[in-house]
Amino acid sequence: MTIFHSCRGHGTYLQDNKLKASVAGFVEKVGKLICVKPVKSRYNGEVGDVVVGIITEVGQRRWKVDTYSRLDSLLMLSAVNLPGGELRRRSEKDELMMRQHLTEGDLISAEVQSVHGDGSLALHTRSLKYGKLIQGTLVTVAPALIKRCKTHFHNLECGASIILGNNGYIWISPLLKEDAENQTTKSDTSTLEREIVARLRNCIMALAERQMLLYDTSITYTYEASLNYQVSQHKK
């Protein structure tokens, strides 16, 4: 591909003025920009993406969050709603209370606030729908399989709520009780709800294995298709 009328995007490199692909994937041409989008790769986030992350380290006024991207993302203490919901400057006491709020291994849903120079993401959870995830299971799929759509929080009518993180982490949990605004109390899920969550988990894994695009309608159709099998007979 001669160089003079196009410019280089992601996934390509220049060699004796010929543009060559450096990853295996689909070529995307936007105006003069040519880039190659790999099929299976780590998540490189854009501002505004909804992601599900796992806290890996509690540091000085910030948490390190694993979002299946090349570098761990950062969640600043200033980018989090304080437990009481008050809005004030973060004092030193908050710093010491960080571990009470979020510790290693905790799961959070967050939004990408900005992308740093080296590609690592800054997250924020400053809205009521984001925060700590308590009751439910996590499924990891390739980030490319998650279809970008308007909302990534779905309450499926089969009785479970799903968060499709753009970074390939999908959180399935029983329907949030209306009153528990953010679920800190330990609500006991009934067996029926638990079976729905398990069935959903198996459906998503089956879809992901066949490299099918994941969005709420594709998942609901698979769920209905799986209804005539007993949950415990699933392949997984």
Partner: protein, 288 residues
């Protein structure tokens, strides 16, 4: 899976699931996951087997070599085990990979410890001097919990697939000389009807589950490895994990493992026989 430590909320969700007898992937407490097994897929071994379960992938190769017998058991052959899991090095066992390998290797050795598991006497060539030594090596490619069960099943399949060449001993004027014949029809097979299979029960909350996934193993307080052979005898027991078990739970676990092992052993034998008869072309590593 990404991080090794589960958060309290997710552990509680799994423990509640087990008490309601509906686990994270829908299975009941005594359900196994399906696995596929293939034998004879690595050419220059005397016997090999590969076992694939969702998330777990183990390859076992057995090579027979002629060597000196051990001092205390001079007239029988012996087995050497090694489990190599360098390729599966997730975060939770980094750093102390050595201990993990020792633990697996020693657990395997313990099952084959008593003489009447395998007919080791048939492995002797010249009593006291030359015996067959079976090097049994397992390579763990991928693991999603329940590793020892998969390894023990794969080892049993590989032993079934093992062919040991016949050896003729001729001694010209006192010099013993071994001559290994390579025509296939006078090879020896090993009888594996007394070879046990490990069933591990993990104690989660107040109940215990069979064939636990990686997350379930993270929130299990104690684990009992029970080796059961075709004659429903217990060949070895080992409690591992950082919690403690009630004696009554231990007896219950042994009983469940014995019942669970019966269909497991039979199904394994049938698939091995079926595969041996059909000996169609092996799809090997291409089937995903």
């Amino acid at each position: 899976m990404s991080s090794s430590t589960l958060s309290e909320g997710r552990k509680q969700f799994i423990v509640d699931g087990v008490t309601q007898d509906c686990r994270a992937d829908g299975r009941r407490c005594i359900d196994f996951r399906r696995f596929q097994i293939e034998t004879g897929i690595v050419s220059n071994t005397n016997g090999s087997a590969r076992l694939r379960q969702y998330g777990t992938d183990v390859l076992v190769g057995i090579k027979a070599e002629i060597g000196q017998p051990k001092q205390e058991r001079s007239n029988t052959g012996h087995l050497e085990f090694y489990v190599d899991c360098s390729s599966y090095n997730t975060t939770e066992i980094d750093g102390h990979i050595g201990d993990f390998t020792t633990q697996l290797t020693k657990s395997l050795e313990r099952i084959y410890d008593s003489e009447n598991v395998l007919d080791l006497k048939s492995l002797t060539i010249i009593a006291g001097e030359q015996v067959w030594v079976l090097y049994i090596d397992a390579v763990v490619l991928e693991c999603c919990g329940n590793l020892l069960d998969c390894i023990s099943i794969a080892v049993k399949a590989a032993l079934y697939n093992t062919r040991i060449p016949g050896v003729s001993v001729n001694d010209e004027e006192g010099v013993l000389e071994l001559e290994i014949s390579d025509d296939p029809n006078d090879e020896k097979k090993l009888s594996i009807d007394k070879v046990p299979v490990i069933v591990s029960c993990n104690k989660i909350g107040h109940r215990y589950v069979v064939d636990a996934t990686q997350e379930e193993e993270c929130c299990s307080s104690g684990r009992l490895l029970i080796a059961v052979n075709d004659r429903n005898n217990i060949c070895s027991l080992q409690k591992s994990g950082t919690g403690s078990l009630d004696p009554s739970t231990i007896f219950e676990m042994i009983e469940t493992a014995r019942q669970a092992a019966v269909p497991l052993n039979q199904e394994l034998l049938q698939t091995l026989k079926r595969e041996e008869r059909s000996n169609n072309d092996k799809c090997g590593f291409f089937a995903n």
